[in-house]
């Protein structure tokens, strides 16, 4: 493969990762606050549908993005409300919403399927696009791609370098202690669930308005939400590591188009399910890596140790537990 081939490959990896990256980052924020938003798969579909329908009928792409993020925030808000105020299982509510929002998207969107709609126009950044090699890879995309790139570092900085981020993490680790320190865990959880939901909504919009323009049944975004949920674990609840996971996944997706060319007898549907065994395999790997015996074995192997350390990360201690205020 020559240089231009590599550039095209990497550029399409960056562009293709946008929705899953946004969803992963959104879920990371939500889970850092101790809430699991399991509805990602359905949320992405419903917000993708919303974005397309709004953008199609008003001819305003920005409005499509805004409405999609509102939908994502609303769904996340429902889950947070059920957990924080009604003390219901987050997994149960999230799972019901996964199914319901997907069906809602298919039901409302069926009148708009297979229509030619608006798309986000490409926008090469001035000056930056002229940087040799990197300019072509990073700065020849559209606004959602740049936004997602900024969000990786924005979110990392927010979580680990600001007082608000510290409060967010403290609620995820120990809501009771945070409450004793004068933080209201309920408010924090509600707020960050909604913030994460906004990003998930944008992920959906970037599907139907950039990556896979249009709406249909199936849209092509099915299953992405689950991958994003797994990537949060893969990233050890760290936004930058999760982003690396999202790019790796996008890379494999792009490569699968090449693989498909090599084995033409395989039906395309088989390739579509390929990410899922990979997901299981990765999760097993992440678990094994963090086992004590493996850590002990790697003690005198500095390289292996640093790889293992990069792959391990603990979940927020209060993740998934409904907190009850005294």
């Amino acid at each position: 493969m020559n240089e231009s081939g590599v550039i095209i490959l990497l550029a399409s990896v960056i562009a293709g990762a946008t929705p899953i990256l946004l969803a992963t980052l959104g879920e990371t924020i939500t889970e850092k606050a101790g809430l699991i938003n399991l509805s990602l798969d359905g949320s992405i579909l419903l917000s993708a549908m919303t974005a397309f329908v709004i953008a199609y009928s008003t001819d305003n792409i920005l409005l499509g993005f805004v409405c999609a993020s509102m939908v994502g925030a609303l769904i996340a808000g429902i889950i947070a409300f059920f957990s924080v105020y009604l003390h219901q299982s987050q997994v149960a509510v999230g799972f019901v919403l996964t199914l319901m929002t997907r069906d809602l998207a298919y039901f409302i969107g069926s009148a708009y399927s297979r229509l030619q709609g608006p798309q986000v126009p490409p926008l090469a950044l001035p000056f930056l696009q002229d940087i040799p090699f990197f300019g072509m890879i990073f700065f020849h995309h559209n606004l959602p791609v740049y936004f997602s790139l900024c969000m990786i570092f924005g979110i990392w900085w927010f979580i680990y370098r600001t007082p608000q981020g510290l409060r967010l993490r403290s609620v995820g680790e120990n809501p009771r202690a945070s409450f004793a320190r004068g933080i209201n865990p309920r408010k924090i959880q509600m707020f960050y669930a909604i913030c994460g939901g906004l990003l998930v909504g944008l992920a959906g919009a970037s599907f139907s308005l950039c990556i896979k323009p249009g709406w249909g049944q199936p849209q092509g975004a099915e299953g992405t939400g689950w991958i994003a949920l797994a990537l949060v674990i893969f990233g050890g609840w760290h936004p930058v590591k999760a982003a690396v996971g999202a790019y790796l996944f996008s890379f494999l997706q792009v490569m699968s188009i090449y693989f498909q060319g090599w084995i033409p007898s395989m039906p395309a549907q088989v390739f579509q399910v390929a990410p899922f065994p990979l997901m299981i395999f990765t999760l097993v790997l992440i678990y094994l890596v963090q086992k004590e015996s493996v850590m002990k074995w790697a003690q005198d192997k500095p390289f292996v140790r640093s790889v293992l350390r990069a792959l391990s990360g603990a979940a927020p201690s209060a993740l998934g537990k409904s907190y009850r205020q005294d």
Partner: protein
């Protein structure tokens, strides 16, 4: 999960109010959604009703959907009791269907079709059981949460079915999404001509309900499942190995799901289809949640859900609406139930 609040005769009234409020919310939301797409709501409700209970033929379709849904729900009761989220029922149904198809394909020339049918059903149970066991092992040994394990295996099962239909088992001539070659009629599950319901399938579903009820209530296994579900550490200290019982619960769930797959193949479609599981695996999770994990209520809920599913098939033809409406109603129903449960708990906590 198993909070059963005591109901004395004096406190029934709030429950009635709760249920009424719940139904009102469901009704209001669904009507709103229908208005949103510009459809006449009452016509939609009418067609769902007419399409499910309007005639004996429609009713037989409802029963056909009820059988696998009930089987899956019965299986899920075991895993929910031990506190596992067996989201992989869908894949377990599919693998049951795959192994059933495998056995039935061997028996197309046979002079002993009944023997092959029985073997095919056993194979279905084994197929579902193995698939569930894989999710269970990933959970107990591999540290993968059962939601991810089950979900991933669902997609893998789907991939296997597609590969089989387009590859080794493709129809002579063209491979298509319409599935494999239809089996010869002697390998169909016997059914009543006029009603097109197979008594064997119905009996299996009813047997599943009774067996599950007895197992969960009167056996040691049922007791231990409950004990581990309530407090895993206490059960462990008592000498009950949680991992082993988790696998056992998964095998039960997978076995019932695989049986549902067998019935789908031999009794309903008479071939292997990409959509052989018809989403019943995911739906069964909602059924069990809505029935509050009660083995006697679950079949009734399954019947209602089957009515919604079958009735909504009419919608695209009559009103040009998508049949996904049934899923929306089912989802909002479960959501409203969870909300009411939450409100009830808050009410109880308040002085």
């Amino acid at each position: 999960m198993m909070r059963n609040s005591k109901t004395s005769s004096g406190t029934v009234f709030p429950y009635v109010i709760d249920i009424l409020v719940m139904l009102l919310v469901v009704f209001a939301f669904t009507t709103l959604v229908l208005f949103l797409v510009g459809a006449p709501p009452f016509a939609a409700y009418y067609h769902i009703f007419k399409g499910s209970l309007g005639s004996w033929v429609k009713f037989s379709h409802v029963i056909k959907a009820w059988i696998p849904l009930t089987l899956c729900s019965c299986g899920l009761l075991y895993t929910f009791r031990i506190g596992l989220w067996n989201i992989g029922v869908e894949g377990q149904v599919m693998m049951g269907a795959v192994l059933t198809t495998y056995v039935l394909r061997l028996g197309t020339q046979s002079s002993l079709p009944t023997g092959f049918l029985v073997m095919a059903f056993c194979a279905g149970i084994i197929g579902g059981g193995i698939w569930a066991l894989m999710a269970g092992y990933l959970k107990t040994r591999g540290g993968v949460h059962e939601i991810f394990a089950g979900l991933g295996l669902n997609f893998v099962a789907q991939g296997i079915i597609l590969w089989l239909i387009f590859g080794p088992w493709k129809r002579a001539g063209i491979a298509s999404m319409s599935g494999t070659e239809v089996f010869p009629t002697q390998l169909w599950l016997p059914h009543i001509q006029t009603l097109r319901i197979s008594p064997a399938g119905l009996c299996l579903a009813l047997a599943a309900i009774v067996i599950t009820a007895l197992m969960l209530k009167y056996t040691r296994i049922g007791l231990f499942l409950k004990a581990i579900g309530n407090n895993q550490n206490a059960a462990y200290l008592f000498g009950v190995k949680p991992g082993r019982y988790m696998l056992l619960a998964m095998i039960f769930a997978g076995g019932f799901a695989g049986l549902a797959g067998s019935i789908q193949v031999s009794g309903v479609y008479h071939r292997l289809l990409p959509s052989i599981s018809s989403n019943y695996g995911y739906l069964a999770l909602l059924v069990v949640m809505l029935s509050n994990y009660n083995v006697w209520i679950a079949p009734a809920v399954a019947f209602f859900f089957a009515c919604l599913n079958v009735g909504s098939i009419q919608l695209p033809m009559v009103l040009q609406l998508d049949s996904a409406l049934s899923g929306v109603i089912q989802g909002i129903l479960v959501l409203a139930t969870l909300a009411v449960q939450g409100l009830r708990m808050i009410r109880k906590d308040a002085p």
